[in-house]
Symmetry: C2
Subunit: 212 residues, 2 copies
Amino acid sequence: MSKVRVHNLNISLDGFSAGGTVTVDEPIGHARDLFSRFDGRVIEGVHTVDDPITADRAFYSLWGQGIGVEIMGRKKFGPQSGPWTDDEWIGWWGAEPPFKTPVIVLTHHERETLTFENGTSFHFVDAAPEEAIAQARELADGGDIRLGGGPSSIRQFLDADLVDFVHLVTVPIVLGSGVSVFDGGRDVHDRFDIESVTTASGLTHQFWNRRR
Amino acid sequence: MSKVRVHNLNISLDGFSAGGTVTVDEPIGHARDLFSRFDGRVIEGVHTVDDPITADRAFYSLWGQGIGVEIMGRKKFGPQSGPWTDDEWIGWWGAEPPFKTPVIVLTHHERETLTFENGTSFHFVDAAPEEAIAQARELADGGDIRLGGGPSSIRQFLDADLVDFVHLVTVPIVLGSGVSVFDGGRDVHDRFDIESVTTASGLTHQFWNRRR
């Protein structure tokens, strides 16, 4: 059975995984520091950069292993809300989205599928978590399902107990405010076996595996 | 420039990475315990098994990332020595070698190239380390070069300062005797930046990156 996985989910010491208000200039709100040690260049493998192979990079490179589809919240796709008024907007990433698989964008507002030459396609779907997972599985061609965020999107799947794996990265900074993946999720940790590893950079990587 | 990399090199507390005498029944000598926590099933990705995604498995999965060729010592290919007398021997792995790339087998004794349907081919080469690297690069199609062992083979490349990266795994056991990758290699560590990470299993993973 394919897994539902979360990768490279940063969390501050005070529990926030994104800033508050998202704008075109600040896609992750005021939470830039959460991503300052994240090397997004190695998500397809540590060999894709000429830099040292570190434990952090090894963990980041899990992102695409065996993934057949991503599910993301609308805020990860763009800063707009309400009905789509700007069909020119094709996501934060322009003509080369890094996903290279189908992507389900959760939204209450319909829009035609967008397809890119590198294998990425955005499917706009109005569905509850269970239904979104079912649709994702059809698109995944046997691969695993990655929940891409943001945090409030991941929270819905955690609340519904639909998540098999979370790679959570504690970044030793304090944001003061923002969006949490755990709001109202008391005791969610009881459902998982959790391994923690701290690397030379000062990041603590946690591997949450759903108990069977 | 492509890197010369070593992955999943186990070492006991007393410094051994393989047992002494290699036979058909004991391909790694008496050093079985060195490999008891190694999950060779995930060398192509953590998604290839239905088990938890752990830090250990994440590190093991670096094995194939961006690799275009392997160089191995003759003892990794088979227990024989001297001229080839048994052309039926096609390696320890039978018809499905896990490499799926060209592999250079270092030997003083010529033999015809063996080719497998899954992309693996064994090329039998009599060459010093520098020359072996040059030939490997031609076979690698732009990919990195993995040194596959055994330990005495890796030692020759370390002594010649031809290694860019080593993933060394300290296994908390005592072997008493065996083959070391560091015999006579005093101060080899000075040429590398070294990160150490201990995981929940009790293994300590070290990432050696050659200083530039």
